[in-house]
């Protein structure tokens, strides 16, 4: 069997991912998560008589807790295959990356494993968020002086 035949066989057996379906499911499920977030916030405001800001923070904590729990139960990765980017881009993706990294390195101990690896992926979000915000604040201050 030469190289070309081999490539043909490989191509035949690689699972095809429909990009249109992927994008559509990301759009629909992402949108539904946004609606759910708004609904939970409204519900919290009505039931506990909270301000908008407090209710929003509680809503985010609820989402983070759910994402952490689903990751620990091993469900989150299966959900990602259906929902695609819809649960990675919201705050749930941030919580998932911390929890999964911490769980993966649990065997290396609490300090060398969990402690030094839990921000492996979420670290980039915090790093570039802080750096870009800092630069933009400085730019804004210079412009307004």
């Amino acid at each position: 069997m030469n190289k070309k035949q081999y490539e043909k066989i490989v191509k035949k057996h690689t699972p095809k991912e429909d990009r249109f379906i992927n994008a559509l499911s990301a759009f629909i499920f992402g949108g539904l998560l946004g609606v759910l977030a708004e609904a939970i916030t409204k519900l919290l405001r009505v039931i506990f008589n909270l301000t908008v800001l407090d209710a929003t923070v509680w809503m985010m904590i609820v989402f983070i807790f759910t994402a952490c729990l689903l990751t620990a139960l091993g469900v989150f990765d299966k959900l990602t295959t259906f929902f695609k980017a819809a649960i990675i881009i919201p705050i749930t993706g941030f919580a998932h990356s911390v929890t999964s990294a911490a769980l993966d390195y649990k065997q290396d101990g609490l300090i060398q494993g969990v402690g030094s690896n839990c921000f492996k992926m979420a670290g980039s979000v915090i790093l570039y968020g802080v750096i870009s915000a800092f630069i933009l604040v400085i730019i804004g201050v210079i412009i307004n002086v």
Binding site: V35, A95, A102, V125, Y128, V141
Partner: protein, 116 residues
């Protein structure tokens, strides 16, 4: 109407992310970092506050709101206490998200075993 705008905004962000991932060699890590920077830039031009007015809590859910909150917290810090205020205040509003993530992730790590 808030629900419709929340649906469209979060859906559109996820759509963009999925298209980027499917058509380039970038991973979710790249895209989330890009979106945080995008959120800070939208906050800089005061666009994100208007999006929150329309889309409500739905706009606070994506990772872009993280960048927006960081920028506004830094700016508030500057207005309160000058340059020192930027350093003191930068992470104040995002503190809830980071703290909740760390606490719950650590609890789950203690309770559960990794599954493959």
């Amino acid at each position: 109407m808030t629900y419709l705008y929340a649906f469209l905004f979060v859906g559109l962000l996820c759509l963009i992310a999925q298209v980027i991932i499917d058509n380039t060699c970038l991973t979710f890590g790249h895209v989330t970092s890009m979106f945080v920077v995008l959120g800070a830039i939208l906050g800089f031009f005061d666009i994100y506050d208007k999006i929150i007015e329309f889309a409500g809590a739905g706009a606070s859910l994506p990772i872009t709101s993280f960048g927006n909150l960081l920028y506004h917290a830094g700016l508030d810090g500057y207005l309160q206490n000058g340059i020192l205020g930027i350093f003191q205040n930068m992470l104040s509003t995002t503190s809830a998200g980071i703290t909740a993530t760390v606490v719950f992730a650590f609890l789950m790590t203690l309770i559960f075993k990794p599954k493959d």
